[in-house]
């Protein structure tokens, strides 16, 4: 999706507010949203579908609202789409399920339980596939010219560009399909690009940009 989220290399976003030395959450609601996102996930959701739902936020809201606010907006959208709640319930700020028997809420988790869950939820995204990797380290490749209309992880700034395979990462879940609920592994590589290949003003630079890219984003150069 050529959405507002695809920010790499876009211009006009001004200087960086470099000071951020406070705690992890600057306002209470930020922490609440962080916690909600950890413990309220619809069945079968994938990280890529969640990311895509965030990408689909209206551009003016994506840019104009604080970061964790956009998480809340994303959560709302996934909950509604998956049937957890309705727009009417959100307007009323209460459950309107007429015949619903309020079940027991999930048991409270302690700090120790949460820390254990954080540790246990070090999700891996790699897996074995039959096909051998097409590319090898050191090989020159060129990225796809086109993105696609749905979720994808080849940023616009790195399309149609020449780079070099720097590492093989293994076969990882392919995000373009995972965002549609289908888990398929595909070989994934780290690809290094000369800055001058990406940016008109970087001519003569020795700097590099490295991206982890899936095999179907790449062709032999």
């Amino acid at each position: 999706m050529d959405g507002i989220h695809d920010l790499g290399g876009k211009q006009g976003y001004g200087p960086i507010e470099v000071d951020d030395e406070g705690g992890p959450f600057h306002e209470d609601w930020e922490g609440r949203e962080w916690g909600i996102a950890q413990c309220a996930r619809t069945p079968g959701i994938t990280i890529d579908w969640w990311r895509h739902c965030r990408e689909l936020i209206m551009p003016v809201d994506y840019l104009g609202r604080p970061y964790f606010d956009s998480w809340a907006q994303t959560d709302f959208s996934t909950y509604i789409e998956a049937g957890w709640m309705t727009l009417e319930e959100i307007a009323a700020v209460k459950s309107l399920e007429a015949n619903r028997e309020h079940g027991e809420p999930p048991a409270a988790m302690t700090l120790q339980q949460v820390l254990q869950e954080d540790h246990d939820h070090a999700f891996r995204f790699d897996g074995e596939i039959e096909a051998a990797p097409v590319f090898s380290v050191g090989q020159r490749v060129v990225t796809a010219k086109h993105g696609h209309a749905g979720h994808t992880r080849l940023p616009q700034y790195a399309r149609g560009r020449n780079g070099t395979i720097q590492a093989y990462n293994g076969a990882h879940v392919f995000p373009d399909l995972s965002a549609r609920g289908t888990e398929v592994h595909q070989h994934c590589y780290n690809v290094m690009f000369d800055a001058a290949e990406l940016w008109p003003e970087a001519s003569g630079s020795k700097d590099k940009v490295c991206l982890d890219l899936w095999e179907s984003y790449l062709r032999g150069a």
Binding site: D6, G23, P24, E27, I47, Y67, T78, A122
Partner: protein, 211 residues
């Protein structure tokens, strides 16, 4: 269950745009209230997650890993070979670090980490990302103008140093190992860990100065 229906989600966002409360705090409050009312979430578990990422999980973990890598050549090698296993020696494996990679600064290379497409971050080892990391200014400029970005952080990178920007486009996450400052030979791991800034592990800080 989701139908993975992007068109429907776009319409939901448009509807929410004009129907949600106008302040962030009120929007999140509505979200939590409704989840609790539906019995989908226990608010005490939210409290526990906040506590976990305020008191326990944060950049001190990363700093400990860096200090250990500085002090122990074998550990450094294990970290380079298999970072998830190496951080789990300290119990730090967790959210978003199952495919962690470490990248080392040197006299001739400086590493900088960004996620241009969202704001991917190695949570279990660095905690919650700083505000600037998640902002459009950093996400847009880090890949295109890393030297300008670093200058805004007060870091000047000489022409003899190559900058490598790592854009976190897949599930790999990056931890920068800054250079060990001169004059710290006699320091303990605890003392060394105190020198390591959060920004130095993202790459927006470079010279950690003397201890």
């Amino acid at each position: 269950m989701s139908d993975f229906d992007a068109k429907k989600v776009a319409e939901i966002h448009e509807h929410l745009h004009s129907h949600l409360p106008s302040e962030s705090a009120l929007r999140v409050k509505a979200l939590e209230t409704l989840l609790v009312d539906k019995g989908l979430v226990n608010p005490q578990t939210i409290d526990a997650w906040i506590e976990a990422y305020t008191e326990e999980i944060g950049p001190k973990r990363g700093a400990r890993v860096v200090a250990k890598a500085w002090s122990d050549p074998d550990y450094r090698q294990r970290l380079l070979d298999d970072a998830p296993a190496a951080i789990d020696e300290l119990g730090y494996l967790g959210k978003a670090t199952a495919h962690l990679k470490v990248v080392e600064n040197s006299d001739t290379v400086h590493n900088l980490v960004v996620c241009t497409l969202c704001s991917c971050y190695p949570f279990s080892i660095l905690g919650i990302a700083p505000a600037w990391y998640k902002a459009a200014a950093y996400r847009s400029r880090a890949v295109r103008d890393p030297r300008g970005v670093l200058a805004e952080f007060g870091v000047d990178i000489g022409d003899n140093v190559e900058i490598r920007v790592w854009d976190s486009t897949a599930e790999l996450r990056y931890l920068v190992i800054p250079q060990r400052p001169a004059g710290t030979e006699g320091m303990s791991e605890d003392e060394l860990a105190e020198l390591v800034t959060r920004n130095s592990m993202i790459g927006t800080d470079r010279d950690l100065g003397e201890g």
